[in-house]
């Protein structure tokens, strides 16, 4: 097709956006609403994943050593532990250090420990190991149990299980909701573009009978559909960014800061927004184009 025809088509597509304001508004708000919710769900899922990742790195395995383990044995164990797969951090804590830590932690109640000193310290020496992922816990525990000098290996099976469970449940329901919403957004967009085509079926009909080719008729609708999708994506992107940054502000100024919830740091706006807006643009324009193609096909039949 000639360049002037392309220009005409883009012009037609955008003009019809304005001429059919009512319908354009409906389409755009439908797309924006669907994508906005999709964005919120994605933001929540991404934050959950982030929190989970944080929690997962906190799983700690403690290896208590038998009393009077020789320091050369401890050296050897240190070397081996370093070589194990999936270890993210490890630390050796002598029984003296442990007693000191207890004293600090107990605070007001520390006088209960007053009877102990390095001579009669009842605590054992220990290794504290963090793994990269909960999956590594089993193998680390197994290997640790084989050391002759080990008295006991302790780790929180509870925490590991429930973390894995939160992670999979969140992803599972996040996916269900996102899929439902994408399907609904598709239905709405497809329908609104069908309506737009429907409202111009007379025009399409006339164009056909005075000799317009199928693609000549199709292109303005494709352009219109894509524009609708992209405008909707832009609006929902703005909305998502706005609500999310409001949330960030609110959280950072809230009294929770510095208490037990502060370990769950929300992701910054940037790292949330880019993938979400990218997805919005893809979904918006793809659905716009697909919907246009589907919608127009019926009315093109001779």
């Amino acid at each position: 097709m000639k360049i002037r025809t392309w220009k005409r088509m883009a012009g037609q597509g955008f003009r019809s956006l304005f001429r059919n304001r009512v319908m354009s508004l409906a389409s755009i708000s439908a797309i924006a609403a669907a994508l906005f919710v999709l964005g919120l769900v994605m933001a929540v899922v991404m934050n959950f994943n982030n929190i989970i990742a944080g929690l997962e790195s906190k799983v700690e395995i403690t290896i208590f050593l038998k009393t009077d383990t020789h320091s050369s044995d401890i050296k050897r164990m240190e070397q081996q532990i370093q070589s194990w797969e999936g270890i993210s951090e490890w630390e050796y804590i002598s029984k003296d250090e442990a007693l000191e830590t207890w004293r600090e932690e107990w605070g007001d109640m520390a006088y209960l420990l007053d009877g102990y000193n390095s001579e009669n310290n009842p605590l054992p020496d220990s290794f504290h190991i963090k793994v990269q992922k909960p999956e590594f816990v089993e193998s680390v525990v197994e290997k640790a149990s084989k050391f002759a000098a080990v008295e006991k290996v302790q780790y929180s099976k509870d925490v590991v299980d429930s973390i894995a469970s939160i992670a999979s449940t969140t992803r599972f329901f996040g996916m269900i909701i996102v899929v439902v919403l994408i399907i609904m957004a598709m239905i709405i967009i497809h329908n609104t573009i069908r309506i737009s085509v429907y409202s111009r079926r007379r025009e399409v009909n006339i164009m056909k009978y005075i000799g317009a080719t199928d693609w000549y008729i199709r292109w303005p609708f494709l352009i219109e559909g894509m524009a609708l999708g992209l405008i909707g994506a832009a609006i929902s992107g703005g909305l998502t960014a706005g609500v999310y940054s409001l949330l960030l502000k609110r959280i950072s100024s809230s009294p929770m800061q510095g208490n037990l919830l502060s370990q769950f740091q929300l992701l910054p706006l940037d790292s949330i927004l880019y993938p979400i807006v990218g997805l919005f643009i893809m979904v918006g324009s793809a659905v716009g184009i697909a919907a246009s193609l589907l919608s127009i096909s019926k009315h093109l039949k001779v």
């Binding site: 164009m207 009978y209 000799g211």
Partner: protein, 228 residues
């Protein structure tokens, strides 16, 4: 050359609109199609445009069998035919100028051609002063003339006019017939369905008369026979 060979059309609801029609129109001819309301005139026009398919028989235009035509070729076939539809089929969201220009845009005419040709055609049908009016702002006759302008703007080799003077007063109708006659003299085949007995009888052209889907007469320099 246009040929209808044993053409019958039965609509979905079982109504037989055309019954074994045989017509042959040479290039450059001027033919009136007359007949009572519901005789099948508009059906014939729709068949010729490939808007509907015949139930039986063949329609051949310039040696091409319409039933054999590929889907992609249809638009190009239609561009060679200018049509004034009985219900005008104007775009309500476009002005008179745009409605006519539109037919040229479809064939990818340049902006320059459009700016030269459209006002010329609008002047010819007497609508120069209405170029910027929307169809809803036109009288019935003005709408009809807009439809004629659109049909003529691409210099078609065939002009089909379904009741092109139905909403016109005698003076304007005579003016329009003069234009159509001129177009015909330039070599365009004209097929015109009409009820206007005055016009048919004064033009002394070939007249094909339909009654209930059947061709009941086909005469050179014919007259509009009143059946009652």
């Amino acid at each position: 050359m246009i040929q209808f060979i044993n053409v019958s059309k039965v609509y979905d609801n079982g109504l037989q609109a055309l019954n074994n029609v045989n017509i042959s129109v040479e290039s450059g001819e001027f033919v009136f199609i007359v007949g009572a309301s519901g005789a099948g005139k508009s059906t014939l026009v729709k068949l010729l445009l490939k808007e509907i398919e015949p139930t039986e028989g063949k329609i051949i235009v310039n040696d091409v069998d319409l039933s054999r035509m590929k889907r992609k070729e249809i638009p190009f076939y239609r561009r060679g035919i200018g049509v004034v539809f009985q219900d005008f089929r104007l775009l309500p969201t476009k002005t008179v100028y745009e409605n006519v220009a539109f037919a040229m845009e479809i064939v990818e005419a340049s902006r320059k051609e459009i700016r030269r040709q459209v006002p010329a055609v609008l002047g010819m049908v007497g609508l120069a002063s209405k170029a910027n009016a929307y169809p809803s702002q036109l009288s019935g006759g003005e709408q009809q003339r807009t439809a004629l302008a659109r049909a003529l703007v691409n210099n078609p080799s065939i002009l089909i006019a379904d009741e092109p003077t139905g909403n016109l007063d005698a003076a304007t109708a005579a003016e329009i017939m003069k234009i159509i006659n001129m177009i015909n003299h330039r070599g365009t085949t004209v097929i015109m369905a009409t009820h206007a007995r005055d016009i048919v009888n004064s033009m002394k052209k070939r007249v094909i008369t339909f009654r209930k889907g059947i061709v009941v007469s086909d005469k050179e320099k014919g007259e509009y026979f009143c059946e009652d």
